[in-house]
């Protein structure tokens, strides 16, 4: 039976929560239902056109002589086709789509024909650089590209049962197994400069049942951190090759690499239960969320090396926060949830989905951000494609697989991780449970469930951290002991029940259900006002707003004629308003603010004697209305400055 789950944890004793197939859930409604359709109708077709027009597909064709131009683009461009195929696979898992299947078939055929006899596949090398294969693992990404091939193949096999692409992937992986491993086995001790192969191999082991892939992934994870890569200009830390994982104190270096590494290590833990891995993962997660993560959930404070900064280094305008890093963080969260059963990882998954990844994707589904600043002068625009275009197909595969993240199961329970307007039929404890969610979430906090099953079942509903009066991002330590449910209410068939979550953040309704039973969850949708740790220099004297899981920003389009540097908002006077015609329909925040003019005489100098400029007296400040929009929707109108963190002035 096909069971197309995003990541397959079902076979291991170390996964506390099992995944649900992407096909088990149908997204509906104006928020996710619409976006899911946009991904299928706009994102995937236009991306295919880019793959074609930028010669990414021709790079394959030239391997077998059907294209005679030069290799074009970056050396890891093959991976864009692989991610696209993964996205498309999750979609055709849902049912026939002739157009999409035709393209998938075309893509797989290209790949099959471009694979060499011994299993090697990388179009950058095969034609022009056959003698340079495996000569520069640090920089040239052969295993990173191969990892995406494997992930696509696993997705395609899970989605269709068809083994064509999986066959390509196993031939490639078998070649890796022959070549790389312990020197004592006569193999080459090496690691790839960009993590990705680790989690891919573990998924391949799950899909095929062959433990050699898991063993190789384990080898790569253990071999890293010993300077094998000889770091070069960015240094070993860029590649997470400066310290072995079991002694790593904090995540640093290239953000996507670091987070893909953590995803792979979590997969290794889930398969082996190896002692020490999980506490180390938790430590790294704590440090990351407590000192190196943007309030968007984004990771990566530096353009230099696309890297994570030191503690509290979180500049807004120069934030890097690559869309792929947000996705990588979500991938890691999904695995940590399985390993721990703790909803804090869903909190971050959800927060990053809305505020870290979604900003990278335009409302029309055709343009993307690679870099996601929290403040901008209006010059940073989404683009339809990039020379280094890792992010767009990463968005596509994430949205296409999103139904697989909504629910989870264990031996006796159905977990509701995410509140999405949706219909689902899920296998729990050997029987199929029908469950629908009707909700305007993330705009409204009411979620109405209908249970379409009879019998005993523990329904576990996640109480989001933000609903708990907690920070969206917080370490385990900061969260422990503060779990409560202020403002949360819960009823079953109209009768109120206790909404207090357990220490994992879920409230359990364990009962014998009858078809048609209803559950209503009400989450408080107050506007939350955030301040930042005083050690973050850029955020001093500033606040940010959220409501539900959605972070807000102020954008020039709503604040005509005001320099946003001169805007001081009043944190006490913010209210939420549904605006159906704004940005395809959003809840906007409105409030009071003041324009407090920067001394207009302060021009021509950066530095002045202290005390020469006074802050404007109250009489000089002019009141105005504040309108804030969801951060994910910024820059879908005319160009203009934007800020997440706003100056405040207490009224």
């Amino acid at each position: 039976m096909r069971h197309p789950v995003v990541v397959e944890f079902a076979s291991t004793a170390y996964a506390r929560i099992k995944p649900v197939a992407v096909t088990a859930v149908e997204l509906r409604g104006d928020f996710w239902g619409r976006r899911f359709d946009i991904n299928r109708k706009e994102t995937l077709p236009t991306q295919w056109d880019h793959l074609e027009s930028t010669n990414r597909l021709n790079n394959f064709r030239r391997v077998f002589g059907e294209y005679d131009g030069p290799y074009e683009g970056l050396f890891f461009n093959d991976s864009d086709l692989y991610k696209w195929l993964e996205a498309a696979s999750w979609l055709i898992a849902r049912g026939p789509d002739a157009e999409l299947e035709k393209r998938i078939d075309e893509g797989i055929t290209l790949i099959e024909r471009a694979q060499e006899e011994d299993g090697y596949i990388d179009t950058y090398f095969t034609v022009d650089r056959p003698n340079e294969k495996w000569t520069n693992l640090r920089d040239l990404h052969e295993m990173y590209v191969g990892g995406h091939l494997i992930q696509a193949a696993v997705a395609h096999h899970r989605a269709t049962g068809n083994g064509r692409l999986l066959n390509v992937a196993t031939r490639f992986a078998d070649m890796l197994c022959k070549r790389f491993g312990p020197e004592s086995d006569g193999k080459v001790e090496a690691v790839d400069g960009h993590e990705e192969i680790e989690m891919a191999l573990i998924e391949l082991a799950r899909e095929t049942g062959h433990s050699r892939y898991l063993e190789l992934a384990r080898f790569f994870i253990k071999a890293r951190g010993h300077g094998l890569l000889k770091g070069g200009r960015f240094g070993d830390a860029y590649f997470q090759d400066d310290v072995p994982f079991d002694r790593m104190e904090s995540l640093a270096g290239h953000a996507v690499r670091a987070l893909y590494m953590c995803s792979g290590v979590t997969d290794l833990y889930l398969e082996t239960g190896e002692e020490g891995l999980l506490p180390r993962l938790e430590t790294l997660w704590d440090r990351l969320t407590a000192s190196r993560m943007y309030i968007t959930g984004g990771v990566g404070s530096r353009y230099d090396g696309e890297s994570i900064g030191v503690d509290y280094e979180l500049p807004n305008a120069q934030a890097y926060t690559e869309t792929c890093a947000a996705i990588a963080s979500m991938m890691w969260c999904h695995r940590m949830l399985a390993a721990t059963g703790d909803a804090r990882y869903v909190d971050l998954f959800e927060w990053t989905l809305y505020n870290g990844m979604l900003p990278g994707w335009s409302l029309d589904g055709r343009e993307y951000y690679y870099v996601n600043p929290l403040e901008n002068d209006g010059t940073h625009r989404r683009r339809p494609w990039y020379y280094c275009s890792c992010c767009p197909p990463n968005v596509a595969r994430t949205i296409a697989s999103l139904p697989g993240y909504v629910y989870g199961t264990d031996a006796e329970s159905l977990y509701v991780h995410l509140y999405f307007d949706s219909d689902a039929r899920i296998e729990v404890a050997g029987k199929t449970v029908g469950i629908t969610q009707r909700t305007q979430y993330p705009w409204e906090g009411t979620v109405d469930f209908t249970i379409d099953t009879d019998g005993d079942l523990a329904l576990k509903l996640r109480i989001p951290g933000w609903a708990n009066g907690q920070a969206a991002l917080s370490s385990r330590e900061a969260r422990d002991g503060t779990v409560k449910a202020a403002g949360v209410s819960l009823s079953v068939n109209g009768g109120s029940v206790d909404a207090t979550p357990d220490s994992n953040g879920y409230v359990t309704i364990h009962r014998t259900w009858k078809t048609g039973d209803t559950v209503r969850l009400q989450l408080p949708m107050d506007v939350r006002v955030w301040q930042s740790h005083p050690k973050v220099p850029d955020n001093r004297g500033r606040i940010a707003f959220s409501r539900g899981p959605v972070l807000y920003c102020v954008e020039q389009a709503d604040m005509q004629g005001v320099d946003l540097d001169e805007l001081f908002v009043d944190p006490a006077q913010i209210s939420a308003h549904w605006e159906p015609s704004l940005l395809d329909g959003v809840v906007a925040l409105k409030g009071t603010a003041q324009r407090r003019a920067i001394d207009s005489a302060w021009t021509g100098e950066l530095y002045r004697p202290f005390g020469q400029q006074r802050e404007p007296a109250a009489g000089e400040a002019s009141p105005l209305q504040l309108v804030a929009i969801p951060y994910f929707a910024w820059h879908n109108r005319e160009s203009g400055p934007m800020k997440v963190w706003m100056n405040y002035r207490e009224a």
Copy 2:
């Protein structure tokens, strides 16, 4: 007659102030006299050893078969020897030094033997890549390296009258002249990816009298900005190749490149008086100083591309502010002073000398910073040498040539640009003027001059911008009309005279001097407290201190047990104290401050609900003594955090 000036403006009508030979001035005293000696006794010898031990010299020897190892290091490593030779040349200009002359001779011999028949010289190419010469001007720096060869050769010729190295340089330059230029002349239209050759060629034209070098420099300047380099991953702006100079609105891209470009363009103006160049240079200088320059005088806000940021992008901890960029800015200032006669350019030269370049050089003369942050956690340490070691020999040549920057002349005047304890004999209007300065500057503001000449002479003394109640860095517009001399006093032979400077920032004493006449200048050495333009996010709520031309910082070594993020200084209570045993003798600032503790419960989270944390009440703040040290002297003791911009709290 030898006339070893740093840059030769004497032959052009467009230089308002002429230079003085480096040999005309003898630096004395504990500040510059001592540093000048350290440069000779510590810096140059240890740098020579690094040139040898890192195979930079062997890269030359292998060209003619006296070394058989591989080429080692970066492709532009030849330039480190050239800069070292320039430094050494300025020193031997002062008199015999057998050890230094032996090394200079050895260096020149290496270079002579490594030059090819046709004048080409670049050891990265000659042996291993003969077919790749001139194939990648964007990235491989052949003309940048050649420019440093030319500068060294000009310095050596000026210093010694010996033409050996100049002969190498002219052969190289003649080859450039044959190869590069307008297509209509049958030449290759190209520019180098790293500016430097432009000012070098103009100096070569001055030294040899051959206008073809000036013409080629002019060609390179005009050819830039039209995308000839095809920018690549950093984009055209990195190379200043996105906009032609005559339409450039602001400096951007790689900081050293941009400032070397401006130096070359100023040289072009000085030689040709070409219309439009000077106003454009002034516009760029205004924009740079008014919105893109650190209070240290440093330039370069981004590690990414070692580049200048957008307006007001001036992060402290992540400041790049390469030592070479400070030096490049000083080189540009020196040329702008010649072009305009305006002391504002000396103001910035001096400020950058003390606060932009000097921090890059350890007190013992043996270690260097490449990057100069304004705030650090204690991990950023000077190093004896770098893989990319452009900065250390750049410091060496600047210090060695420093005597040449102290004075200037015009037809009837002697300009005193810089206040350095020194003895000098200077040619003005056909006669030799002896002049001594006795001063403890920069620690004290009193400068006593003795004039050792008879006859008519206008003595022009610069009144520093900082003494004028002006910002150290300011645009021409911000400065115009505000020139005054509050706190400055001036006397001749004990009798007070008017100290009001002219609109160029100089006060003139025009009289018939008698040998033994004395002049006393007294500059106000109050502690200045600076605030930053409110659009600089990192500096809000912070102040910085200076005294005279010296910027201060607070360093953990003086503030044991206090988290510098918790330090709030009182701007009204700062006083200056000479500390002879601190950091080889400095004036330290002392004052009152408070420790205002960051909520010790604020751990484990970056973001908290607004209003949950209160600022500490007055009773919670603990008073302590502030000790601030000159920023240039930081990190010459144990490792520890440092800040230039400190939190303040009005008393």
